[in-house]
């Protein structure tokens, strides 16, 4: 299945891109996606403790949640509106 990944702020700088498509096996979870992205972009590694994930524009904290084909997953570093 295919996942659209969005990177913001420090995550964007470390991934070197703002968005990319990632192909994962059926049944893959957010944790699997994190592994795949780390393999692809090593500089992301130290950032994970500070990053929240949003699936289709809503925060998801359970990394064991299975992903759906076509989902958009955003890496959300610490927010600081205002």
């Amino acid at each position: 299945m295919q996942i659209e990944v969005l990177y913001f702020a420090a995550a964007r700088e470390r991934a070197g891109t703002g968005a990319e498509a990632v192909t994962l096996p059926e049944g893959a979870t957010l944790a699997d996606l994190i592994d795949a992205l780390t393999a692809k972009h090593a500089p992301l590694e130290p950032l994970w403790p500070h990053v929240r994930l949003a699936v289709d524009e809503a925060f998801v904290s359970d990394h064991a949640a299975p992903l759906k084909d076509g989902a958009t997953v955003a890496l959300i570093p610490p927010v600081s509106g205002g």
């Binding site: 969005l6 913001f8 702020a9 420090a10 950032l47 500070h50 949003a54 524009e57 809503a58 925060f59 955003a74 959300i76 570093p77 610490p78 927010v79 600081s80 509106g81 205002g82």
Partner: protein
């Protein structure tokens, strides 16, 4: 009543959106770019956002405010892009028949924004630049 924009913000225009004849109180919070953060001199800020989600979360906050403080009306405008010292980054205006709810609702909206709205701030300092909240 929620707006993300690359253009300068006008607090008076945001305030005007929540005024009405049945409201006796309007409280308007304006967040400005400060010339320092702790010991660091700040030259400018760069804001970016996950725009559709930021709007969605702001709208969620509006819904929470409506539910908790019936009779209030709230408008939230946030600037994005490059801002220099003294410019307005955010305006949150709340009206209500009486003042108490305006304070509680405005404070609540700001704290919720600071916690969950996907807007990111890079400080360009005299001695380098940092993503706020991350320190690098």
């Amino acid at each position: 009543m929620v707006r993300l924009t690359d253009d300068p913000l006008d607090p008076a225009a945001v305030e005007a959106r929540v005024r009405a004849a049945d409201r006796g109180a309007v409280l308007t919070f304006v967040g400005l770019v400060r010339d320092h953060t702790g010991p660091h001199r700040v030259e400018r800020l760069e804001y970016e956002a996950y725009r559709p989600m930021a709007v969605k979360v702001f709208e969620g906050i509006r819904g929470e405010v409506d539910a908790r403080w019936p009779g209030t009306r709230i408008a939230i405008h946030h600037r994005l892009g490059r801002l220099v010292v003294g410019e307005v980054a955010v305006v949150i205006a709340v009206s209500a028949p009486h003042r108490a709810e305006t304070f509680d609702a405005c404070r609540y909206a700001i704290e919720r924004m600071k916690a969950d709205v996907p807007i990111f701030k890079k400080e360009i300092r005299g001695d380098g630049s940092v993503w706020v909240g991350l320190g690098s």
